[in-house]
């Protein structure tokens, strides 16, 4: 298999059932290239397309096994396990804070009642966004460690920084409220770290 196959296969492993566009976004590959990789992976029985209202590409059971093997080979042959494991530890320290921030974006305590944030208080929203930016700065060294250890991890920094930039520019659902949001990409990074290290949830 080529390197791009693994990127596509692993994007489905970490992102779950996905459209071609989402896999392209996750991998940084062109949609046409993703599509042809998916077709080849499908012929090998590693991925499948499920049509219907929630039509999407996903891994087969064989695909999940193949991904685990190849991702483990990649990790071990690069001698990257210690570095990825250390970066994961640092990620886990920041993870509860990211989840706190997403919650603070969605909910506010008003007289002790957790209430859906109606986003009428611009000062509060700006403060939450500011804390996201602060967290993003603090996670940067983790991205550097990861992408130094395994090049493919570099994509997460691009995607997270991109989501934050869109949120800062006014598309505020890019923080926690849509596919491709900071929260969604962060969760994929979390899943990737678990999958790469072979750690069960």
């Amino acid at each position: 298999m080529s390197k791009d196959d693994l990127l596509v296969l692993h994007a489905l492993r970490c992102g779950g059932w996905s459209s071609v566009a989402r896999v392209a976004e996750a991998t940084g590959l062109a949609e046409a290239d993703v599509e042809s990789e998916l077709i080849d992976l499908g012929i090998d029985g590693l991925v499948t397309y499920d049509s219907g209202a929630f039509g999407a590409w996903g891994l087969t059971a064989a695909g999940k096994v193949a991904d685990a093997d190849r991702i483990n080979d990649e990790l071990e042959s690069a001698g990257a396990r210690p570095a990825v494991a250390a970066a994961f530890e640092r990620f886990l320290v920041l993870n509860p804070e990211l989840l706190d921030l997403c919650t603070a974006w969605q909910l506010r305590a008003v007289d002790g009642v957790m209430t859906v944030n109606d986003h009428h208080d611009a000062a509060y929203d700006a403060r939450v966004l500011d804390r996201f930016a602060d967290l993003d700065r603090r996670v940067a060294p983790v991205h550097t460690e990861l992408s130094t250890a395994l090049h493919r991890f570099g994509r997460y920094e691009t995607r997270l920084t991109g989501a934050l930039a869109r949120a800062a520019a006014g598309e505020s659902d890019y923080l926690a409220d849509r596919i491709g949001s900071y929260h969604a990409v962060w969760a994929e990074l979390h899943e990737d770290l678990l999958a790469t290290l072979g750690t069960p949830r």
């Binding site: 970490c14 804070e97 909910l107 002790g112 009642v113 929260h183």
Partner: protein, 485 residues
């Protein structure tokens, strides 16, 4: 002493110095309720530590003296092989920052002390060691390091972010409470739990909470062991139950409000570890205020001032009415929804072609996004209000119940405690109250709440305006009038 105060009834200083948790413990002491012996290191000491990066002058000596006092009072020896004394070290700031700072248990568990416990009871000693942290084998060094860790946890980035978001100043610091350990894992007549003096969901005047038999409190937090409804204490440990119910009544009459306590019982003996007012919201807040006024514990005017307009709109949020509630978790995405249970994303997508589906998972990951998109509601066993499932459910505007501790997800069915529900069966979830019910329950908007009607009638009595207006305006007008008095 400059930095340390004993947890004894005559210690009386402001919350800014002692922290809210220590103040609660002092209240319990003054009320004659059982509190493990201990002392509190003031927020001044914390601020000084954070400024200078080391213990302030004199604190180390005071700590040695306070430990000697504690050992003498309990008749045990810190780090000793015979009658070893273990202590807990807990944070306690003047403002509430739930879950943000550290608690460290079982300090003083040196190899010598462990041998001492093993001589008394080998099972108990093994249980203590199984949860022991990596620490130096010196009791005083353990204690010093634990106090430093709790001081430093004030400035963890997560705690800083929490304060930024909640307008809490960064320079308050936390007090640190050191207490003789009491052991919920001591024997079969031991355990730990949390209790409200009234039901926090409904406000009904019955004790409510969770109890864990034979374990320490951190086993609840770690999700290693399932809790039981508090009322099971009545049959299993009737003496502890009687003591707890009586303590709840005592603290209620002190605070003149519904209360929350944390407790441990060791070999059948009850100990209280924390108390605070219950901070009820919504319909529960209304009901408690009205019933306390009826009982003449508070005046009608006080009742009106205790209920915020925000609580009224919460009363009006649609909620589930069912006689067949099978589980309770944390409501993490508001709303009530009915659907058939699916235990995998694939099953959720498949089933959703024929009608609404509730996705039930141990926890969620990106794999479940498609299932979450297909489902009308979500239940998870693990995670809190900030978990992946909760954040995603809210982003999709879907009801969610998370952290259902007794939930086990099997392949073709789910179990809530002893009750097995087959995949494909219909359940209802209430993402506000956190309840899960069997079958299709009704969602109703509470428009005939008797307590609310009475409260609003009192509001109209205050303003003299009995015209037909929005409920929150009736309350706000009464509160404005009362605040001018």
């Amino acid at each position: 002493m400059r930095w340390i105060r004993p947890l004894s009834g005559d210690t009386d200083e402001p919350v800014e110095i002692l922290g809210a948790k220590a103040q609660g413990l002092l209240v319990l002491r003054r009320l004659g309720l059982p509190v493990p012996s201990g002392f509190v290191i003031t927020t001044d000491a914390c601020r000084e530590f954070l400024r200078a990066g080391r213990f302030p002058e004199g604190l180390a000596d005071e700590l040695v003296g306070a430990m000697a006092w504690l050992a003498a009072g309990t008749g045990r020896r810190f780090g000793g092989a015979r009658d070893p004394l273990l202590v807990s070290v807990r944070s306690g700031a003047s403002v509430s920052m739930p879950g943000m700072m550290d608690t460290i248990l079982n300090l003083g568990l040196t190899s010598e002390a462990a041998a001492g416990f093993a001589a008394e009871d080998s099972r108990f000693a093994a249980d203590l060691l199984s949860s022991a942290a990596e620490l130096p084998d010196d009791a005083n060094a353990q204690l010093t390091s634990a106090v430093e860790t709790v001081f430093e946890s004030w400035n963890s980035s997560r705690a800083r972010t929490y304060r930024e978001l909640n307008d809490i100043p960064h320079d308050l610091g936390t007090a640190v409470i050191v207490q003789a350990m009491v052991f919920g894992n001591r024997d079969e007549h031991s355990g730990t739990g949390v209790a409200f003096s009234r039901d926090p969901d409904t406000g009904e005047n019955v004790p409510y909470g969770d109890v864990l038999f034979g374990h320490q409190g951190e086993d609840v937090v770690s999700g290693r062991t399932a809790t039981h409804p508090l009322c099971e204490l009545a049959s299993r440990e009737p003496t502890v139950w009687t003591g707890l119910v009586s303590a709840l009544a005592t603290v209620e009459s002190h605070y003149r409000d519904a209360c929350y306590v944390e407790f441990t019982f060791q070999s059948g003996e009850l100990w209280l570890l924390q108390v605070r007012p219950g901070r009820f919201v919504g319909g529960a807040a209304v009901r408690v205020a009205v019933e306390l006024a009826d009982a003449e514990v508070i005046t009608r005017e006080e009742a009106l001032l205790r209920v915020s307009p925000q609580h009224l709109s919460q009363v009006r949020t649609p909620h589930m009415t069912s006689a067949d509630v099978i589980a309770r978790g944390i409501g993490a995405g508001p709303g009530v929804t009915v659907g058939r249970i699916a235990t995998t994303t694939e099953a959720a997508v498949r089933l959703s072609a024929d009608g609404p589906v509730i996705l039930v998972r141990p926890e969620t990951s990106p794999h479940d996004m498609r299932g979450l998109a297909a489902a009308t509601g979500i239940i998870t066993a693990r995670g809190g209000p900030a978990s992946h499932a909760a954040v995603v459910a809210r982003s999709m505007g879907k009801p969610a119940v998370v952290g259902v501790a007794e939930l086990v997800v099997d392949s073709g069915s789910v179990r809530f405690g002893a009750q097995v529900i087959e995949a494909g069966s219909v359940v209802t979830i209430d993402g506000t109250s956190g309840e899960v019910a069997r079958g299709a329950a009704r969602a109703t908007t509470n428009s005939t709440d008797a307590h609310l009607h009475r409260l609003l009638a009192w509001a109209d009595d205050v303003t003299g305006d009995h015209s037909d207006r929005e409920e929150s305006r009736r309350l706000i007008a009464a509160q404005a009038a009362l605040r001018l008095r």
